[in-house]
């Protein structure tokens, strides 16, 4: 008797939250959620995804230093530069780590949380890419909404919630 099974292709899916910290040295700081970046890396499939807000509320703008605010008024446009930088300069699987090490100031990419993921090996190349893409985007968006929800009760800085207020970037 023979049993044959298609083993899943193992890999990792990482997520990192992006936020502005208005008072880095204090527990009582205002934290402004800006976006989430996600990275998926399987043996021969690699993808990076960003979701970020396109604007800030006036309350949020009022606590950001003028020097940074000029650039950060549209978080997506600002973060998209880092997305491109990471895509062009990092090894597959290392983007989130490099971004977290680079952005440790008031604008911070959080320490990435990574978990194992797998795709069925029976996928052809195109199917594998599409399956990885769907998994990346689903995880990215879920994390983003969770991030916003966690700060929903922060009455000082209610994040924008309209779908039109977010923008997405993907690379694979």
């Amino acid at each position: 008797m023979t049993n044959i099974a298609a083993l899943p292709t193992p890999g990792r899916l990482g997520l990192a939250r992006i936020a502005f910290h208005a008072n880095v040295g204090s527990k009582f700081e205002a934290l402004i959620p800006l976006g989430v970046i996600a990275e998926i890396h399987l043996s021969d499939v690699y993808g990076l995804g960003l979701i970020a807000r396109t604007s800030l509320t006036s309350e949020e703008e009022s606590v950001i230093a003028p020097l940074l605010l000029e650039k950060l008024r549209s978080p997506f446009d600002f973060l998209n530069g880092d997305f491109e930088w990471a895509w062009n300069n990092s090894q597959p699987g290392c983007c989130l780590i490099e971004l977290a090490n680079r952005h440790k100031g008031s604008l911070r990419f959080g320490t990435p949380v990574s978990k194992p993921t797998a795709l069925r090996r029976s996928h052809n190349d195109g199917e594998a890419m599409e399956a990885a893409r769907r998994r990346l985007l689903e995880a990215r968006d879920k994390e983003f909404w969770a991030f916003l929800r966690e700060h929903e009760d922060d009455r000082r800085f209610p994040p924008n919630r309209g779908l039109d207020d977010f923008q997405y970037a993907e690379a694979a």
């Binding site: 204090s26 527990k27 009582f28 020097l67 680079r102 100031g105 008031s106 320490t111």
Partner: protein, 294 residues
């Protein structure tokens, strides 16, 4: 009073000192290159006066994702600091002691290094429980120099306004043999007026006894430039005076209180001897490398 005075007077600070022989404080005009907010300077005064923090610190996160294993810690009052492992017995690195000594010397010499204190009860066992705590960034809102440059936040005005402090940092780094210098170790206060921009330098783990192997070691780091920042010879002269004003007894006091588990006796002796000897040679080093120190 003799010495060099900054014509802009923005680098002079009135300091009240209490002499151990007198019950009355005396005021001293001291050069400073620090532009930290008042709460940071208040903390710096407290941490300069103690080797250890007796506060209860709770780990609330990690910084970046690097190999330094830096943690974000928070005390009961909500103060947040970066905790870094102090000792690496495998390689014989005494990073925490270097960070603490550098921050205390910098406080006395007016060099912008955020305050540092030692922590004995961090997570881990044995020597891995030992950490240095650095008040995170020193500024309420800050950005790293390299990131600020890449994002177009810097301009000529900002570069000029930090030139004096950067020149002073360069001399300080000569003194303590700080070799690990890069734009990623410089922070700017993004809330400041660009004409009076605050700058700070962090990470002195690899300095002093990381390179000094004997009492009269004369290892000098190569000049380092922060791109875009003009030279400031007056800033260098002022820093030389500030460094030379650090008395040998003060150097000894700063180093002697670091306990054995953070810094072995032989290393401490080497550090004290070199700091005392090297500060006298800095003017000569400066004249040899004039205009190229940062």
């Amino acid at each position: 009073m003799g010495g060099i005075v900054d014509p802009s007077s923005r680098h002079l600070m009135l300091v009240l000192q209490v002499d151990s022989q007198s019950q009355f404080p005396t005021s001293v005009l001291r050069v400073t290159f620090r532009r930290f907010p008042p709460n940071t300077e208040q903390l710096a005064r407290v941490w300069r006066g103690q080797a250890f923090s007796e506060h209860r610190w709770l780990v609330v996160g990690s910084v970046g994702a690097g190999e330094s294993e830096s943690l974000i810690v928070q005390d009961d009052a909500g103060l947040r600091a970066v905790a870094k492992p102090a000792v690496d017995p495998t390689h014989g690195y005494f990073r925490g002691a270097h960070e603490k000594i550098a921050a205390d010397l910098a406080y006395d010499a007016g060099i912008p290094v955020p305050p540092v204190v030692l922590w004995r009860n961090g997570p881990g066992t044995g020597s891995s429980k030992l950490y240095s705590l650095s008040y995170w960034g020193g500024f309420t809102q800050f950005e790293y120099w390299n990131v600020a440059a890449d994002h177009g936040l810097l301009n000529e005005q900002i570069c000029s306004s930090v030139a004096r402090a950067v020149a002073a940092i360069g001399l300080f780094h000569l003194w303590i043999s700080a070799h690990d210098r890069k734009p990623e170790h410089f922070l700017i206060d993004v809330q400041a007026d660009p004409r009076q921009m605050g700058i700070a330098v962090v990470d002195h783990a690899f300095s002093m006894s990381s390179y000094w192997k004997r009492a009269d070691d004369r290892d000098w780091p190569a000049p380092f430039r922060l791109e875009g920042v003009p030279d400031d010879p007056l800033g260098c002269e002022m820093a030389i005076q500030a460094i030379n004003a650090c008395k040998d007894a003060t150097i000894h006091e700063i180093c002697a209180r670091i306990p054995l588990e953070f810094l072995p006796d032989d290393r401490r002796d080497i550090i004290v001897s070199n700091l005392a000897g090297r500060k006298l040679e800095i003017p000569q080093r400066f004249s040899n490398a004039r205009g190229a120190i940062a």
